[in-house]
């Protein structure tokens, strides 16, 4: 298969104020079974042969679970199939097509180079409460705290989030509500998560605001592009948990356990 690629290039020289532009490449003889990233690998190998600078992009596991890949293909985060970019195959496109490739577009995800962005803000949201404050050591026998399969399923449907940030990139407001809602749902429905239920949601929501993520106005784009098909219900859960927590007690950020 043959394609024309319009690929975003930015910071590929020494100019720190580079505002970026599209560069056009033609690729030929691509196997329809190749993944989108393998197609980019082939292009990069050719660019090396031509002694031209490679296109920078992130990827690691290439099986849809690590969440590293972060392309926007023809305007849709990850690509047309609601799977990660690494699980997008060239057979999903029409031979001869022009394909536009961009990095995630969000103020909270600054571009590092070309298609690679910095998503450190998501780690900081987790630091603000996305855990159960237990430390390593003897723990209770798990079967002393039964969890019904329905609750386990609900927790797991949210816990499968891969932290790729496509939800943020898809949202017209640049909100991280699906990401945060998924973590709050996972931990707040489980019995182990109850003691920190309120401090968790307040801490994480405040950190989202501090990072500059926008608010949710129910576009639903986040859930539509989520490769893990996390439903927008988790945002409802996040809102409910947040309101309840605010009513119940004064806002208090998740406090780290002191060691001694």
């Amino acid at each position: 298969m043959n394609f024309t690629l319009e690929i975003w290039r930015q910071f590929d020289g020494s100019d720190e104020s580079d505002e970026g532009r599209f560069e056009t490449f033609k690729v030929e003889g691509i196997d329809p079974e190749a993944s989108f990233l393998e197609m980019l690998d082939q292009l990069n190998e050719r660019l090396s042969n031509e002694k031209k600078r490679n296109i920078a992009f992130d990827s690691d596991c290439r099986e849809g679970i690590c969440g590293a890949c972060s392309l926007v293909i023809d305007g849709t985060p990850h690509g047309p199939q609601q799977v990660t970019s690494c699980q997008t195959y060239m057979r999903d496109f029409v031979d001869g097509q022009t394909i536009k490739v961009e990095p995630y577009r969000a103020n909270t995800f600054p571009v590092i180079r070309d298609l690679a962005v910095d998503r450190g803000a998501l780690d900081r949201v987790i630091q603000a409460g996305g855990y159960i404050s237990t430390t390593t050591g003897p723990q209770p026998e798990p079967n002393s705290m039964p969890v019904s399969p329905e609750v386990q399923e609900q927790a797991m449907d949210a816990a499968i989030c891969i932290g790729c940030g496509a939800c943020v990139a898809a949202c017209p407001n640049g909100a991280a509500m699906l990401f945060t809602g998924a973590k709050v749902t996972h931990l707040n429905v489980l019995p182990q998560g109850q003691p920190e239920r309120e401090s968790r949601v307040i801490g994480m929501v405040e950190q989202m605001d501090a990072e500059g993520f926008g608010g949710c106005t129910n576009y639903g784009e986040c859930s539509r592009v989520c490769p893990q098909e996390i439903t927008i219900d988790v945002i409802g859960m996040l809102n409910r948990e947040y309101r309840k927590a605010k009513v119940k007690k004064k806002p208090k950020p998740a406090r780290a356990m002191t060691t001694q």
């Binding site: 690691d60 590092i112 780690d123 430390t135 390593t136 798990p142 399969p149 060691t259």
Partner: protein, 635 residues
Amino acid sequence: MTVFDSNIPDGPLADKWQNWLDAHTLVGPRNRAGKKVIVIGTGLAGSSCAASLGAQGFKVKSFCFQDSPRRAHSIAAQGGINAAKDYANEGDSAHRLFYDTIKGGDFRSREANVMRLAQLSENIIDQAVAQGVPFNREYSGALATRSFGGVLVQRTFYTRGQTGQQLLLGAYSALEHQVKSGNVEVFNRHEMQDVVLVDGEARGVIVRNLITGEIERHAADAVVLASGGYTNVYYLSTNAMGSNVTATWRAHKRGAYFANPCYTQIHPTCIPQSGEYQSKLTLMSESLRNDGRIWVPRKSGDDRPPAEIPEAERYYYLEERYPAFGNLAPRDIASRAAKVVCDDGLGVGGTGRGVFLDFRDAIIDQGKETIERKYGNLFEMYSRITGDDPYETPMMIYPAPHYAMGGLWVDYELQTTIPGLFAIGEANFSDHGANRLGASALMQCLADGYFISPHTVTNHLAKNSEPVSTSDSAFDEVESDVRGHIQEMMDVGGSTSAQAFHREMGHVMLDKCGMSRTAEGLDEALAEVRAIKEEFWRDLRVDPGDEEFNQSLEYANRVSDFFELGELMIQDARRREESCGGHFREEHQTDDGEALRDDDHFAKVTAWEYGGDDPVPHDEALNFEDIKLATRSYK
């Protein structure tokens, strides 16, 4: 300078770890903030180790090359984690898990280490549940278990087909909790380049900031390597694109022995390769073998659709050759059996390198709904990748490089031959012998990270040592070596990408130092890998600019180490004149094609000392006191 003693504590096997714990030296709570530890890697082992040390009050610097610690490749583990809890009331016990692991490893691991691992297995499940890891549950609300490759009990705990992801997110959340508490600092997009020794002890690392290209120095009182395995030496593997050997290899070059490098695991259930462009192979969880039946047509070149091939003309080769274990035979055995039938021309698929994994009978027996509940996400993943629907037509699978049992040599305390340098998780060689059983990697990584290294590292930190500054001349020297190596790559000025060289080397390694090896093939492989390495240093192309974000440079840097590791793997495979586990030498097999061990000469660990083209082997004898050496049979 280097010590070579496994330091196994005295006492009965089952008491050794408790005896060690009772006797080790502690660091008082007030003194912990003054002790610094560097942890390289944030997978299951690295995250859990850093979080545990941080929770005790030590100051930890944690490094990963990924853009977030949560992306380490432990995330991709699917099937489950073993623990000898005996919830299924089958008479399971720590001793049985210990025995299965030793036997599964073809009697090439240390008894004391494996017993400790089996004993700690239960604590791991408790720890993970307390963190909120949503393990699958029975209707009663109790934890669910299933059986998994190579054992006869149900001791595997799982979270759907994403157990590694959930366990890693548990460890990652513990890590981020410690970041918040101020005891752990995470450096993402930083890659370790070398370890710094002061007076013979590991006292720091040189890392490259992958965004700015800056070369940084970090000093500490101990360094822990949790940098994973090296099967990307084969180019195509189930590892992530970035998985590499650089941290452990550079430590090896500074004096840490590298043990059993030839022990690599080729996993039987992966999606077959479809083309030359392919960048990685995708694993399908081994749990599929619980219900799927593996077969090939009895007649070579039978190209009827699989559904039209009658029962009598199907060769269920695992069920026929290994009636006791059948489709659940351990990985090394299942992989080699697949290779043998494909070598005999019975393979299926476009390349003839594939076998069927068929769910027809399971769907008839249990109903589509049950199968969907058990394997739905795996079936979906398969059909996304291949375009085939496994409910309708059998899956096609073929073995792919997956896991490295070899790694840095460590003693009972998980300390390498460099004092103060520890290796945990897949990065070390311990516990799995010559073959790893399914659902044992997650167990070992978390045992090392949560429950072993936090204590053994503490024991080391308890020794009074002078603080070291990064302006020490030892840092100058190592930094200059690191810069020199980078400059060398920048200076080649050729026109071939590192990926092309990597692919070429991978072909040689898989062909001649993969599932099946011969003396002749290994000799050829050594010459070929050296020739490709020479070409690499003559025609490599990396993008200009070493002090900036430069992925082509990162890649070349990793490949440069894979060449040297590949040479050592070949030399190790050549020296081990026997077949055991994942190491199958064609010269050493029984009449019916099973691995033939030579316990008289090779019941030992080979730990290699770095020596450039002529590495020096050292042997650690394996003493079996609890277990009788036996021929490993799954028939």
